[in-house]
Symmetry: C2
Subunit: 192 residues, 2 copies
């Protein structure tokens, strides 16, 4: 399984491609950063990110894309740009029919270091060791993108089992009821 | 000037096209809502929004797109989806070379009602009167999209003068210095 990990950001969007399966040594295929100028208009920066992500997808043809799940609780000042960059990454992938997986920062840290509270240096060190690199990828956004891809390869079997169980549960229920019920429901605060 | 206003949201993305210039009666060209199912995956919902916005741009060929500026301070639970939907709207417009303008909710309310603290009903009533409609557009997201377009038509002359002054100031400075300086600057907390 070849996975493109994306650590979303407007100024630096980390991208990293890792190939492999859980339980076997992994291979780094590529790593880099899509940058956009901080003085450009936000709409143009999003177009730059789209071009950058599309170029990575064209070149490496991953089987799926793993994007960091953005929360609004922390980094309030940067979170809007991060959410917008992540939207572009998800859009580029889904438009091609590629599965998109979201992993939280602590899921990624826990997967690669064993601790959900690991710092940047620990994540970089483990990525370096797991991919047998000469030095930690710089900047940290690039290392984080590789960590996301590794996390996805390792978590995918468990996530797939969960999704299959959910799909089976949906099939067991009358087909049209749950979806129609959700769509008709009163506007929910969390889903607008 | 024909303006597409977009009130971004994942479940309901309001869209409204208004034609006119400041100081003259305005005309509503179209209004609607791009909806995506709340039970679909976020990446697929963003693709649906892209298709919906692209269809409105294809049909109405606006001169520019006005999008609500999203803040992270309020509606913490809904703000991520709103930011992501707004990213898709900005991307669709900028990809076609259309100018994208952002207006805050209070700028929009102040422009159409005279008060930045007006409620939904007041905004709907003023949109109805300004566009000479038979009844307020429903849902509120559709009325808000029209209010954004009206706000942009009325604010555009002032915003244009400001941007021209900023561009002149940049031209007065050595051409490559400000942009290169900003790009080399240390990572800023607010711009990642």
């Amino acid at each position: 399984m070849k996975v493109l990990g994306v650590d979303p950001g407007l100024t630096r969007c980390g991208v990293g491609v890792v190939d492999g399966v859980a339980g076997r040594p992994l291979t780094m295929i590529g790593v880099g950063v899509v940058r956009t100028p901080a003085d450009a208009e936000i709409a143009h920066r999003l177009v730059d990110i789209e071009r950058g992500i599309d170029a990575w997808l064209d070149e490496h043809r991953p089987d799926c894309v793993a994007v960091e799940r953005v929360f609004s609780q922390h980094n309030v000042r940067t979170v809007m740009g991060t959410a917008q960059a992540s939207a572009v990454a998800m859009l580029c992938a889904a438009r091609r029919g590629l599965p998109v997986a979201l992993h939280t920062p602590s899921e990624v840290k826990a997967a690669v270091t064993g601790s959900g509270r690991a710092d940047k240096a620990q994540v970089g060190a483990m990525v370096t060791r797991l991919l047998r690199l000469g030095a930690p990828p710089k900047p940290a956004d690039a290392a984080d993108a590789l960590a996301l891809a590794i996390c996805h390869i390792w978590r995918a079997p468990a996530v797939n089992r969960l999704q299959q169980a959910q799909a089976a549960a949906r099939r067991a229920a009358p087909a049209s009821v749950p979806a129609a019920g959700l769509r008709r429901a009163a506007p929910q605060k969390g889903t607008r």
